[in-house]
């Protein structure tokens, strides 16, 4: 801005318009090309347009546990809910936190929404089941020789103490590489009831004679167990599905090294609800992480009963599995009768101990949730709304175009091309942002895009009026275009900044639908700046060189006479007359 007389110099002093324009076109072509290349040629539609169910859950702060509503627990909850919903066989269900205490579950069309609601809303699907058999993951393979990879997974040292009387137990647990699966309830002997090949004893032991709970493993279940392949994610998630608590079932679980094992489980003996409280704590004496559990009155009776039974059994039937949503989370061994409280020890680190504690104490979810809203939308209606929205947008656009053509005549060409550029950019970005950041075009977002037509057109109007002012001052078009720019630019930037600020604040503080709207508004405001700077301005500079515009053709919208330009003589001066385009 140092050259104060720039405006009066030859046009083109303002950079190379052709090059800028070409660059802009290349960027646009790149975006559009990228859109086609990635195959995402349409914006991802939100649930309200594509159809589906949206469930909003709100975390309930329980008395005395207000701090439980925190980011970690919210994320754990998201993970669990996601597993549940996607376990349904619904692909692409989205589960995300929204704000500090909401979880939004978006389940796309074609799902049984009632079932989904049940799944999402229920908190407790946690059972303690006796383990009848456990072998490595694969399908019927009597010889578990195969996988050396899953090898050193012994059920390592583990102990569970009846927390009260014997808190000691020298935690020998040597082999420990594991996480939650590998632990025991009060088991001084580090019996490696391993799932893996190295232990002759446990897993392959062709199958138990007397099942503890009397629920005999029926042949069908045996077959199912043999066929189960825990290495297949689909089979895995289906394994424990729909198992009634009172029936024996099969399930998968990870062993200490993260390899999969399959379990044959007896009927549930203890329910997740029977756990009063559980938390992962650091045992100060041993310096290891353990999980402490307290049972409710009824729960401790049940627990005493089953631990009493289990402790009499040979491995692997002395374990019981903590089954969460059909998946074995942990399978500690039992060596004695336990009652009101117990601790699970094993190879926990802080995180896994606390996770398991959370899982145990809240049933399944680390927090209890209230279902706030449930929205079902059929795609038909969503499509109709989208159609109506688009028609409204098209009509709005047409009105804007008519207004611009009538008022600005030739100049409206610039405005229209810029609007077009803006539309292409917006569309391409929306399409690309779908897979990139999960942007989904919902109805409010469509609304935001339509409203943005106004914002985008505003910028041209500001610039055009500036140019006209300059022409009224008696300048010819070329200098007018250049002189008008710095001031129009400032106005556009200042006002776009305000718009953007509004969008950003809206985006940050709000939730759900509002965010889609705010995002679109912010995006289009940014694009407006880009388009005005790199498209409208260079285009205007180029057009100013054409005879049609430069000569002020009556239809150019820049006819000096019509604009009431003064003769090019500059005599009087007034305060509001433009000073050099210095900027503040």
């Amino acid at each position: 801005m140092a050259a104060p007389k720039k405006g009066r110099k030859a046009p083109g002093g303002q950079g190379k318009p052709g090059r800028t324009l070409a660059l802009m076109l290349i960027v646009m072509a790149g975006l559009v090309g990228g859109m086609f290349w990635s195959g995402d040629t349409t914006p991802r539609l939100g649930i309200d347009l594509a159809g589906g169910t949206t469930i909003t859950l709100k975390a309930e702060a329980e008395p005395g546990k207000e701090s439980a509503v925190n980011e970690t627990n919210m994320n754990t909850a998201v993970g669990i809910i996601e597993r549940r919903v996607n376990g349904l066989g619904v692909s692409e269900a989205e589960v995300q936190t929204q704000g500090k205490e909401n979880i939004i579950v978006n389940i796309p069309k074609g799902t049984n929404s009632e079932q989904a609601q049940k799944l999402v809303g229920t908190t407790a699907r946690l059972y303690f089941r006796p383990v009848l058999n456990v072998v490595p993951a694969g399908p019927a393979n009597p010889e578990p020789t195969g996988s050396p990879s899953a090898s050193p997974s012994g059920k390592p040292g583990e102990k569970a103490t009846d927390g009260k009387d014997k808190a000691t137990a020298p935690s020998s647990s040597p082999t420990t590489q594991g996480r939650a699966v590998t632990e025991a309830l009060k088991a001084p002997s580090p019996t490696p009831s391993g799932a893996a090949s190295d232990q002759p004893k446990a897993p392959e032991s062709p199958n138990p004679a007397p099942t503890p709970s009397g629920a005999a493993a029926n042949p069908e279940l045996e077959k199912q167990f043999a066929a189960l392949n825990c290495l297949d994610p689909k089979a895995r998630s289906n394994a424990g599905k729909g198992a009634q608590p009172e029936q024996a079932t099969v399930a998968c679980g990870k062993n200490s090294v993260g390899g999969w094992e399959k379990y044959l489980l007896g009927p549930a003996e203890v329910d997740g609800k029977d756990v009063d409280d559980a938390k992962g704590v650091l045992d100060p004496q041993r310096g290891i992480w353990i999980v402490q559990m307290d049972f409710t009155g009824a729960g401790s009776k049940k627990f005493a009963k089953i631990t009493g039974k289990l402790s009499q059994q040979p491995s692997p039937m002395n374990q019981f599995a903590i089954v969460l949503d059909g998946e074995v989370v942990s399978a500690p061994q039992v060596n004695q009768t336990l009652s009101a409280s117990a601790e699970i020890s094993g190879n926990f680190d802080q995180e896994s101990a606390q996770d398991l504690g959370n899982i145990l104490s809240y049933g399944a979810l680390p927090l209890s949730f209230d279902v706030e809203t449930v929205t079902t939308v059929t795609p038909a209606l969503g499509g109709e709304q989208l159609k109506a929205g688009l028609i409204a947008g098209a009509i709005g656009l047409a009105l804007v175009v008519i207004y611009l053509v009538v008022y600005y005549r030739g100049l409206s060409l610039v405005a229209l091309l810029s609007l077009l550029a803006s539309a292409i950019l917006t569309y391409a970005l929306m399409s690309l942002l779908g897979p990139a950041i999960g942007f989904a075009l919902n109805l409010p977002a469509v609304c935001g895009a339509i409203v943005a037509i106004g914002i985008t057109a505003d910028s041209f109007i500001v610039y055009f009026e500036r140019i006209r002012d300059e022409i009224r001052e008696g300048r010819t078009l070329r200098p007018a275009v250049e002189r008008a720019w710095p001031r129009a630019r400032r106005t556009i930037l200042v006002s776009d900044f305000v718009s953007f600020l509004a969008a950003a604040v809206l985006f940050i503080v709000t939730v759900g639908k509002v965010q889609g709207f705010a995002f679109t508004l912010g995006l289009t405001t940014l694009l407006d700046v880009v388009v005005v700077f790199f498209f409208t301005k260079p285009l205007m500079t180029l057009l100013a060189r054409t005879k049609f515009f430069a000569s002020g053709h009556p239809w150019s919208g820049l006819d000096p006479k019509r604009l009431g330009a003064k003769p090019p003589l500059r005599r009087s001066r007034r305060v509001s007359a433009p000073v050099d385009p210095k900027e503040a």
Partner: protein, 370 residues
């Protein structure tokens, strides 16, 4: 349009124009009146809060020939709660039943589908907890607060605090009017309304900022001349940006009107309608306030400044002198620049306030040279 074009030129040259600043008291009065009406309306009638704030379920049926009254009867029978039924533009029904929970809503939905003879899967329902709307509203208030603070800071930096203050007043004015209209007319307040209201923030300021920008430019060297007072320049700024303000407002209102009347006509009540209705009201209020309230307010505030007071005195003194000379064209074009010199003695007579001015006055020669 061409007439509008020449009008633009005449406005620009200051040949025609409305004395916005001079008549500001009238407009302040009108605004205060509107605001009081809005507040009274709000206090007396309250807002018609949508189901999102009360809790309940909204069922949307596909196109059906069942009458509204019939559907209402069915819905109330099925739920045991009062129901509001609206027929939407496309022949579908929107049935609101307050105070339902998930299980009940499923049940009511089933019964409705039997009663209305519509396959169960085709009735959409939206279940809303009472705290959902509250949450959106409370976040909206937070957003509003944060935004106002940020914008005031920003405007104070980009322009000056007086403009920031005036913009804030205009903003509050717009929001009050919009909310007041909602209370008076009894439109339903939904989260969509809240979104619209928040969007007005940006828009309302957009217009204001455009005028302020021109004002800032117009008054850059204000103390180096004696032809205009601040208020007069402010008025000129409004007038010269009037065409732009009108154009930008029209252009912004057109798509919103499209949404409101066409989109809304198709969809009946719904999010699009809620957003566009509050936008429409707010945009109109925003355009009004930027012209009639914000800028005159800046002029008011500014003229309290000693420097501006002094300037006003100089200007008036000069005009008086010119009038005494018998020249009636006080602000005619024929005025030579030298006359600003003439004003100096008169100005010198005005005491202390001018002293601060003096220092800056040193810049005057260079100012005149240009």
């Amino acid at each position: 349009m061409s007439r509008l074009g020449t009008l633009g030129a005449r406005l620009y040259r200051g040949e025609v124009g409305y004395d916005f600043v001079g008549k500001r008291k009238i407009w302040y009065g009108i605004s205060i009146l509107i605001t009081i009406t809005a507040i009274v309306g709000l206090a007396v009638r309250g807002l018609n809060m949508g189901i999102e704030f009360k809790g309940g379920a909204v069922f949307t049926t596909p196109k059906t020939s069942v009458s509204v009254a019939q559907a209402q009867e069915f819905a109330q029978e099925a739920s045991g709660h009062p129901a509001i039924v609206q027929k939407l533009g496309n022949g579908t029904l929107r049935i609101q039943v307050s105070e339902l929970d998930t299980a009940e809503a499923n049940q009511v939905g089933k019964e409705l589908s039997e009663d209305l003879k519509i396959p169960a899967g085709q009735i959409n329902f939206e279940l809303v907890g009472p705290s959902w709307g509250e949450q959106i509203a409370s976040k909206a208030w937070t957003g509003l607060g944060v935004f106002m603070i940020l914008v005031v800071i920003y405007l104070a930096i980009a322009f000056e605090w007086r403009m920031a203050l005036a913009a804030l007043v205009a903003l509050i004015h717009d929001i009050t009017i919009t909310v007041g209209i909602y209370a008076l007319v009894g439109f339903e307040v939904t989260p969509g309304t809240v979104i619209g209201l928040l969007t007005i923030l940006g828009y309302s300021l957009y217009d204001t900022v455009v005028v302020f920008d021109s004002l800032k430019e117009g008054t850059k060297d204000i103390t180096k001349q004696t032809r205009w007072t601040y208020g007069e320049i402010a008025n000129r700024s409004i007038n010269s940006t009037l065409v732009r303000s009108i154009n930008t407002t029209v252009v912004a209102l057109l798509p919103v009107a499209g949404l409101l009347f066409i989109g809304g006509g198709f969809l009946g009540a719904g999010m699009l309608n809620d957003i566009s209705l509050s936008l429409f009201v707010g945009l109109a209020a925003g355009a009004y306030s930027s012209i009639f309230i914000a800028t005159p307010l800046v002029a008011d505030l500014k003229e309290r400044e000693p420097a501006m007071k002094a300037l006003k005195k100089r200007v008036l003194a000069k005009r008086a002198a010119a009038a005494a000379k018998g020249g009636s064209g006080e602000d005619g074009d024929a005025e030579p620049h030298g006359e600003s010199q003439d004003a100096l003695p008169g100005e010198a007579a005005t005491a202390g306030a001018v002293v601060g001015q003096r220092g800056r006055g040193r810049g005057r020669p260079s100012g005149r040279r240009r």
